[in-house]
Symmetry: C2
Subunit: 336 residues, 2 copies
């Protein structure tokens, strides 16, 4: 790959696309050229970035000439249509949608967990995992390395940013209506989300699980290389703006203690920090990670049902580590 | 007990006390006299009820003369001080605090689950269980009767009403601040609750569990008569006004299927209804149960980690079935 690379962002005007730009700057990713792509509707918009004015271009099949890395965050159908064009033009695609995640020829990468997987890209595509899966595994992967992960039972508390900018707008407008009167408008979610929680993220599949819940199973198995891993997940939308939380019971192959588990986090686990001291009331909440890079782990204690198991709580910014930051970290991997 | 009884409410001006009055009316509980008791600060207040004006009296040791049933909801220390006086005066106390729940001489009653326990009251006191425990067991008890409950792994989504009227005021004031600007004031909770979730309800105990989480274990064992039942619980406060939700993985002694589990609910399970059809997107949310008597169960599916286990989601009004309604239903039991 030529250095510094020509980087393109497809879906540059969405919530994750904008955060990808921020993360490119924060992570000091070098680039020779930056191309912002979006739908015809957004083409022509001007985005200021690092003192320059970038004009958004229309995302078309021939928009990727000379592009080395193409970050996609414009939804699954856009990725299915345009990612192959980008790859055919010689770019490595880093795709934030679920379109290619389970393709055996597409690596699914969390740079702190399985960076080696990014080296083999037969289709020229690398997939960015689901946000809840990334955040959960940021807590679990260090424990897996130490104790051998056997199963996960998880319940999520997912922010509205997971539905993109529209989710945030809907929560804000409902908060306005609760505070000042007026109609509660429901366009993004099937139920009111302000002062409510909705136990459905994505569509239902056969067997009663949602697609989001099934992703936790499929993607965790692929990222950790554990085809036998069992996962029960309940994904719930909560009226929080941009950080996801997950309550997890994790069972291990080897005996585990709270002290030994807490000790696995530290300098050897970049991207995740322990935030756990019941004696001083220390544990993470979504507001603690919003706008931050690192995931935070707390509420660690022995599970009272499963043998060799821990209960724990992990929180991470959905837009950053759950999406844009992880994609930009994959781009950095490609430049090493 | 004389019929109709003289009923007193201690803590009559609190959120649960006010709801107890509503429930007495809705449940058509007969009474000869109604005495409202509260702290000296609230004494003298006039409460309108069923067309009459009731003057709140000060809660004192000799306030229970002639009282047959005393509903207490004024906090644990008030119950510890005054419930014995009420019992000594000949009243049966129904106590909503946690003060007496684990006393082996005090029955802990959910009328739909263990009504027979209310018959033996050596101390003249019956305890009303913890709200999250009641709501969880309303879903689990019918399944226990059919399949034999073995363990519970639960994560809760608890409304601010669980902190009384002050919790509701704090959420409302923070929603106002988010909508209209202004300072986020934190008096009830250690962290902002609007646009946040807090993985702490009640104080921390040794071992890293909170008292609320430990109540789920202790009280479930006592109510179901299952001293060996194992429970792992993570209790989380969410920015919802008055219904609690609980995500549960429940393991059973006997084999179970989703169809067989769904079939246990119906006319034989008063107080809990099935609300579960993924094909039409049907599941309960907190807004569906707020102000309602019945708990709703949905998202029922096979757990993918535990054998003979189901994942499910239950929602119930914290102020009603989680507190006031359950206490009033116990009073009705005493009159049968």
């Amino acid at each position: 790959m030529k250095q510094p690379p020509h980087i393109a962002i497809a879906g540059a005007t969405g919530a994750v696309g904008i955060e990808m730009l921020n993360c490119l700057a924060e992570q000091k990713v070098p680039y020779s050229q930056l191309t912002l792509l979006a739908s015809a509707r957004s083409a022509g918009k001007v985005v200021e970035f690092q003192g320059k004015e970038l004009v958004v271009k229309e995302l078309t099949a021939d928009a990727f000439e000379g592009v080395d890395i193409a970050l996609f965050s414009a939804g699954g159908s856009i990725s299915l249509e345009f990612a192959p064009h980008a790859a055919a033009a010689g770019a490595i695609v880093i795709d934030n949608s679920s379109a290619f995640r389970m393709d055996p020829e597409v690596p699914l990468v969390v740079p702190e967990i399985n960076p080696e997987a990014a080296k083999t890209t037969p289709k020229g595509i690398i997939a960015n995992p689901n946000c809840t899966t990334i955040i959960s595994l940021m807590a679990l992967a260090p424990l897996h390395r130490a104790f051998g992960l056997k199963s996960i039972i998880a319940s999520s508390y997912q922010a509205v940013s997971g539905s993109g900018a529209a989710g945030i707008v809907e929560l804000d407008s409902q908060i306005q209506a609760l505070a000042n009167g007026g109609e509660i408008k429901k366009e993004v979610y099937p139920h009111q989300i302000a002062s409510n929680v909705i136990p459905q993220v994505d569509v239902f599949l056969e067997g009663g699980y949602t697609k989001e819940e099934q992703k936790m199973l499929n993607e965790s198995r692929k990222i950790l290389g554990l085809p036998e891993l069992n996962v029960t997940c309940t994904c719930v939308r909560v009226p929080v703006h941009r950080s996801h939380s997950v309550s997890i019971s994790a069972q291990f192959e080897k005996p585990v203690t709270v002290e030994a588990a807490q000790a696995v986090y530290g300098e050897a686990t970049p991207g995740v920090q322990l935030c756990d001291d019941p004696s001083t009331g220390l544990y993470p909440t979504p507001l603690d990670t919003s706008g931050k890079d690192d995931c935070l782990v707390g509420r660690m204690r022995m599970d009272q049902v499963l043998p060799n198991a821990l209960a724990l709580w992990v929180v991470g910014d959905q837009v950053k580590k759950g999406a844009a930051l992880n994609a930009v970290q994959i781009a950095k991997l490609l430049l090493e």
